[in-house]
């Protein structure tokens, strides 16, 4: 259907362009050059209280920049459909920059399109781009959300009374494990006696199983839960129903838990999006491999909720100040939860060290296993 639509539209447009453009020397190109059009593609709904919403909130910010037009499409599957969406954004809307926000958009879809449209810049929201393998008009941007999870952990570690915390995770991949580990490091830093119980649900969006997991954690005596799933709405609401505390993930869920909300780890994609728009407007080259955390204002913590104690607020605010100054928070001796040393004593891991992105273990203090 959409293929037909696109080809028909493309056909009509090129026909029209041919007729109109011949005598007037390309009014379409001139119209596009007047401002900057940016396309943003989401894999799910824009208001999912999660990953997609975090990007959509940034899109709203981006729209406020003068001269920038934003075109969006949601619920685009990670199939050939995303190529058609990109193509229609480029050809029909004149997009000069495409933000592809889902993991599976990258290879082969975004790479194919980048080769086909060398004048358009493509950026992908997870760090998969490699210099010697991928086109130079493509790239990735990534924010260190684990820094905000570390802050969550500090606030949660000082708020728990049972010293048992729960983490509901989708899949045991590096970025998820990193968030679990950072949360746990935060907890252990302020409350060495506490443990973090992890439950893997197996997929990004399984609302019923996520609710079951939150209930199971509450039954097992956890009084704080947090999560890394696409939409934390169900987890946060279930925790609130069970009368336990929670920390958020991806976007703000504070409104869903007026009693039990502590704080949450949020992306601040708007900073990256606005920087990229500015660079393009000035005619400068975009970075191919952009990343950062609190130091670059790419992540943030949700404003403290009712469940955050005074001590928790203080310690969390101090941790944020350290991260903004780019002080490392991962240091030896760090063991995994099977007892093997992952960071030897005396070693400090820089916040930009790629070692953090290759996490394949759960740190000491996490109860659970990867497989």
């Amino acid at each position: 259907m959409s293929e037909f639509l696109l080809s028909r539209r493309t056909l009509l447009k090129s026909a029209a362009a041919g007729v109109v453009a011949a005598p007037f020397a390309g009014p379409l190109e001139r119209a596009a050059a007047a401002g900057l059009t940016i396309g943003i593609i989401y894999v799910g709904p824009r208001d999912d209280f999660g990953w997609n919403q975090a990007h959509a909130v940034a899109a709203v910010e981006l729209k406020k920049v003068p001269g920038v037009t934003v075109v969006e499409e949601e619920n685009v599957p990670e199939t050939i459909a995303v190529q058609k969406t990109m193509e229609s954004m480029i050809k029909l809307d004149g997009a000069k920059l495409i933000f592809a926000t889902s993991f599976g958009y990258f290879d082969p879809h975004m790479i194919e399109m980048a080769k086909k449209y060398p004048d358009v810049e493509f950026r992908h929201a997870i760090g998969l781009w490699q210099k010697d393998k991928h086109p130079m008009n493509a790239g990735s941007y990534y924010a260190y959300l684990h820094q905000a999870h570390y802050v969550d952990g500090i606030a949660a570690g000082l708020s728990t009374k049972t010293n048992k915390l729960g983490f509901i995770a989708a899949k045991p991949i590096s970025s998820v494990l990193q968030n679990i580990n950072s949360f746990t490091m935060g907890v252990k830093k302020v409350n060495p006696a506490a443990t973090v119980q992890v439950i893997f649900t197996g997929d990004w969006a399984l609302p019923v199983r996520e609710a079951e997991a939150a209930n199971a954690l509450a039954d097992a005596g956890c009084d704080v839960v947090t999560c890394h799933v696409d939409s934390p709405k169900v987890v946060v609401e279930t925790a609130e129903k069970r009368g336990i505390m929670c920390c958020g993930h991806n976007a703000s869920q504070a409104s869903l838990a007026p009693k039990g909300f502590i704080t949450g780890a949020e992306y601040k994609w708007a900073t990256i999006y606005k920087n990229f728009a500015e660079l393009l407007t000035k005619g400068q080259k975009l970075p191919n491999f952009e990343r950062g955390g609190y130091d670059k204002d790419y992540v943030q913590n949700t404003a403290f909720g009712a469940a955050a104690s005074e001590a928790a607020r203080k310690a969390a605010t101090a941790a944020i100040a350290d991260l903004k100054a780019n002080k490392p928070y991962v240091a030896g001796e760090l063991k995994d939860n099977k007892g093997a040393v992952v960071v030897p004593a005396g070693k400090v891991v820089d916040n930009y060290d790629v070692f953090l992105e290759t996490t394949n273990y759960l740190v000491e203090g996490v109860v659970g296993s990867i497989n």
Binding site: D47, D48, I199, V208, A213, N215, D219, R242, V367, S369
Partner: protein
């Protein structure tokens, strides 16, 4: 260890009660439809549409029970549409069902856009916690009235199929359309009503998802529960009482993965998460036979012909 065992057992019981209701309603609805000789595979779409309309109407009207009723009515519209199309000659009910499934989900996403963010009033549970002292059991015994309605309905349907004239007419239509016509029964009309009523029940099942457990509307809400419920009907051999058992079993098996991880048994969680599906396969294999067709299957059903 015994502590952990109790925790897991209680979690599975609680899970069975919490998770089974949508399975139960959809499978009872499908059981009725299939008893009349037609398959409605579109109940996944009806479930999702029911979930959306229940949440939306509950939000707009302020009353969750009005939402449940709206979900039922929306579901019966879908059922009626399926019934009306399938009475036309040479129409495959399975193909129409799949079309209705896609239509129902897509239409629900389209109309449901504006209702993801707002918070609607939810259904309240009946608190039976006073019966026990264990805190975990107290939570497990917060049971939604729809669960009891579902149980009662299963008994009524089981009794009704065997002992009432309407039950007889539905079964007869399902087993032999020729006999039904000879008896002066309008086969199309019976199937139309059976599909409509089946849609109503599936819609109510959706209302449970969005208004009680997990209790919010978003586009990933169902994750295929409507489809699984259709399979449950075959699994329970078109017997409404067995549908209750199958729904409870699926609920309990689904709770196994999270419950085991919560007490620290985390090796092989993928296997435990897949428990409901492995269980289905095992029971299907154990109860099938190469010598006879599916026991209890209505004779007119397109899968048995």
């Amino acid at each position: 260890m015994s502590d952990a065992l109790t925790t897991v057992a209680v979690a599975m019981f609680a899970g069975a009660v919490r998770v089974s209701t949508p399975f139960l309603f959809v499978s009872l609805g499908e059981c009725l439809t299939e008893k009349s000789g037609r398959i409605n595979l579109g109940l996944e779409g009806t479930l999702v549409f029911g979930a959306m309309s229940a949440y939306a109407i509950s939000y707009l009207s302020g009353s969750p029970w009005v939402g449940v009723l709206a979900a039922g009515l929306a579901g019966s519209m879908f059922g009626a549409l399926h019934g009306a199309i399938c009475r036309l000659p040479k129409v495959s009910d399975i193909a129409i069902g799949i079309a209705m499934m896609l239509f129902g989900t897509g239409f629900a996403f389209f109309l449901g856009k504006g209702f993801i963010q707002p918070t609607a009033p939810r259904l309240q549970a009946i608190d039976l916690g006073f019966l026990v002292s264990d805190p975990q059991m107290k939570v497990a015994l917060q049971i939604n009235p729809l669960f009891f309605i579902g149980l009662a309905l299963a008994v009524v349907m089981w009794w009704g199929f065997a002992n009432t004239r309407i039950g007889l007419v539905v079964r007869m239509t399902g087993d032999s359309a020729t006999t039904a016509r000879a008896m002066g029964v309008s086969v199309d009309l019976v199937r139309f009503f059976a599909t409509t009523a089946g849609g109503f029940l599936a819609g109510v099942g959706g209302a449970f998802l969005s208004l009680f457990y997990p209790g919010s509307w978003n586009e990933g809400l169902s994750s295929g529960q409507g489809l699984m419920a259709v399979a449950l009907v075959i699994f329970s051999r078109w017997n409404p009482i067995a549908c209750v058992g199958a729904a409870l079993l699926f609920g309990a098996a689904g709770a196994l993965g999270p419950a085991l991880q919560s007490v620290g048994i985390s090796q092989g969680y993928h296997f435990f998460n897949a428990a409901p599906h492995i269980l289905t396969l095992a029971i299907m294999i154990a109860t099938s036979s190469s010598k006879r067709s599916l026991k209890g299957a209505p004779g007119e059903l397109s899968i048995t012909k």
